[in-house]
Amino acid sequence: MSLSAASTSLLRAGARQLPTSRVAVASCQQQRGIAEATKPTFSSPFASASSSTSKIPDFSKYASKKSPRSNQVFSYFMAGSLGLASAVGAKATVQDFLVNMSASADVLAQAKVEIGLATIPEGKNVIIKWRGKPVFIRHRTAGEIQEAEDIAWEGLRDPQPDADRVQKPEWLVMLGVCTHLGCVPIGEAGDYGGWFCPCHGSHYDISGRIRKGPAPLNLEVPQYNFPTEDTLVIG
């Protein structure tokens, strides 16, 4: 074989002289290249591996008959539909949890109080119970409205104009809980003609604003509205 002949000549030349060995290597490589070009096929030594596993099967039977474009459109449509369904499902799940936290219908029904205003004469206080707390309703006279509006409210401890505390000037509605420590103030008492807290001596004026004493804030105004001319709904 020419390869072994080349290697033996290489060994002999290498023992004598180095440049000769380079020539021998080059000739050896050339001979290898020629040898491979003349043997292009591979024959397996195993008889069973003759044809069935070394050849790629024909998949054309399973290939789609439609155009690749329509297959693409279909797969994007399916992915989009799945996304749509997931979005709806996720929204419904989150909403169920959130609705679970909101007040139920019976709680909401008890959270409102309706009062007929026709029975409250001018210049009188009415105390009603709303969500376990007293609510003061004062039918103010024209003089009291004038007094509440004329005060220089900018200099008060909790500055607030009377217009921010009432929806209709003749009706003053507020929570009857002293903002100091939660006592119930006494109506038509105190130095300012409004409310007076007997616990620690806070004086509120005719708009329910703190004027004197330890309380830090004005009496709180709840949410309320007038559905008709002479009814009041608190809550």
Binding site: R69, Q72, V73, G80, G83, L84, A87, K91
Partner: protein
């Protein structure tokens, strides 16, 4: 993804990802409304005459007559 041809009818919806996602969410919104409305209608049809809103009228009228 290889670009879709411009003559495809769906190219407007799935060519740009932003448009694709917007379509999905808008579709989800519409689908939810349709689904809820449809299922409520089916439920009401199956329980016609048995729900409070169906029989409410009788009792509310009676209560008003009692007041008067």
């Amino acid at each position: 993804m290889s670009p879709l041809p411009t003559d495809s009818p769906e190219k407007g919806l799935i060519r740009r990802n932003a448009v694709y996602l917007t379509t999905i969410f808008a579709g989800a919104f519409a689908f939810e409304i349709a689904y809820d409305t449809g299922s409520n209608k089916i439920w009401d049809a199956m329980n016609r005459g048995r729900q409070w809103k169906d029989i409410k009228q009788r009792y509310m009228v009676a209560a008003e007559e009692d007041d008067e």
